[in-house]
Symmetry: none
Subunit: 383 residues, 2 copies
Amino acid sequence: MPLTGTSAQEIAVCLDGLRREVDAIDEQIVRLLAERHARVQNVVALKTACKLPIYHPAREENLISQRRAQAQQAGLDPDHIEELYRSILRQSRVRQTVQTARRGVRPGAKVLIVGGRGKMGRYFGRWFNESGYAVRILEVDDWPRVQALCDGLALALISVPIEVTPAVIAQVGPHLPHGCVLADLTSLKHAAVEAMLAAHAGPVVGLHPLFGPSTSSMDKQLMVMAPGRLSEECQWLIDQMMAWGNVVLPISAREHDDIMNIVQGVRHFATFSFGQFLWRRNIDLARTLEFSSPIYRLELGMVGRLFAQDASLYANIIFASPERRALLKDFVHFVAENESLLEEGNREKFGAEFRQIADWFGPFCEQAMRESTFLIDKLVERF
Amino acid sequence: MPLTGTSAQEIAVCLDGLRREVDAIDEQIVRLLAERHARVQNVVALKTACKLPIYHPAREENLISQRRAQAQQAGLDPDHIEELYRSILRQSRVRQTVQTARRGVRPGAKVLIVGGRGKMGRYFGRWFNESGYAVRILEVDDWPRVQALCDGLALALISVPIEVTPAVIAQVGPHLPHGCVLADLTSLKHAAVEAMLAAHAGPVVGLHPLFGPSTSSMDKQLMVMAPGRLSEECQWLIDQMMAWGNVVLPISAREHDDIMNIVQGVRHFATFSFGQFLWRRNIDLARTLEFSSPIYRLELGMVGRLFAQDASLYANIIFASPERRALLKDFVHFVAENESLLEEGNREKFGAEFRQIADWFGPFCEQAMRESTFLIDKLVERF
């Protein structure tokens, strides 16, 4: 490209040539996006036929990581490529879930919500009702009418506090029609599914919605499913959850409970302990917030969020089962063992352990960094 | 695609094949984006050489129209393609205009960064340099030249690891011109400010940036300032920070340190302990993420974020001072005391304490709930 002594006309010709090259590339990009769309339609068709959930968070993260890595190598800004792909993936999801709406899978079928005046019971009652089901409610004072309430039922959904769940299941089970699906919503599945299998000879499925009754849309909300008995006869209920937008995750009751011991038990206990410490030392929260980064604000926000909620809900979470309490005691012991580290002030030992843990966390660290940075930016933008 | 009678394994193989096709297309797309970027660089080089304006609105609109038309024909949503291309064009503009105004308050003034090849030192060195200051660096092997490096200085900025900060201050102080501002960047201010006051008779100010060297913009970032001596003579430095976009927060060194013991010490130690527990129990992180709500993802993200960073940085934070270690031991004791609560399984006692803490948190709980709900929505939207 000779730049000196070129006329305006020569420059225009040159620019025009470069622009045509860019246009040719852009045309290829859009052609590839169309091809991509066609392929994704095939994936969706296959998933729908096999009743698999459409949305797959792990697959999306994996895809993003690959494109970021490629962008980095190619000298592009990985954040920008991620932004483009988030948009492409979002678009592809929107197209896939538009046709689902609030379709009733078995409109007119009779549904009994046991504990139907609790928060969660009312929430699911509303959804079933809006999808055309005949919703009945069984509350503490309705036991005399239990036989009539159970007549012709397609589903009995147990939505009572976890500590009374097995007893309520045992009480309602014998009244259910043989083909009625018995399901529950508690956050531990092994005991509940066992109780349901013992109380009812028909189809049984354990559910655990990973969202609260304040969630306005069920779109993309996670619903854990622990199979009990006669899965095919429970399938309409699962189809209903998916029609509402839920992502249904099948898992064995045992593995579910192990995971929840960490995800709910240890996590909330750790958060509780942090709040408890701030209270015991009477720390000036407002002052700490003034002098801290958005990340601290975010973490303190998680503590505040816990204490904004119901004490008995968290008592139930912390003391949910003997296994969970044993795990929490384990956690307490590990924390206590760090005392000697603090006493010795041994930075090398701390550093060595830190690096070992970081290795163990592996690529998740980087992903966590990216995700939390995104949120911190949002926090800075907004507050 | 035979869908009836296929096994789960066959479906998985089929899905895998389709996904690999999508991956291959995505790889081509990113490759083309890189080619596009290279071509645009040529256009920019040509325009710069010919002093033509970079941004050309008509050309952009024309390009968007072409891509929309192509999208329409290919059965894609034209609005979505336009959104993607607006983002691609914006990115290309941003890259071209990155070198913008970084106004210097005292351009030409001589600045010495002690520890100028560390991450934070390089970061501030770059900012001072881009704002027109004459930046010098003093590293471990530069001590023989210290006198020459200090000649005519307007500012000596100490950016070395916290454990050697007082010693380095004592060593450099005697060489500074009387009017030179002496400042540091460590995360504990009492010891550092005392050391600076003892080593230098001129203006002294302690700084603590509440952001890391990976922050691309200083806009709205917090900079804590602990006054030392002759504040008016330090003012130009504060003005410079504000010109860069920093929010400068004045506080006494003592109160700052008390706050940081909580905000950095206890918080990071608690996060470390949680990660340590996950590692010791060898928890399957990916599996817990599959079965969890966005809040857990957010909290685990905070843990992953910590371990994505430097071990020695966190060793320095945890073991920063004897006071901090004592506070952390206190925290360990409080956590350990909860063992009896867990042992007894006393829900009432837990509930009573929970409510007491919630009262103490007061209105902050509700604020935390609001803020974190906002962020969780963002998280759901995005991931």
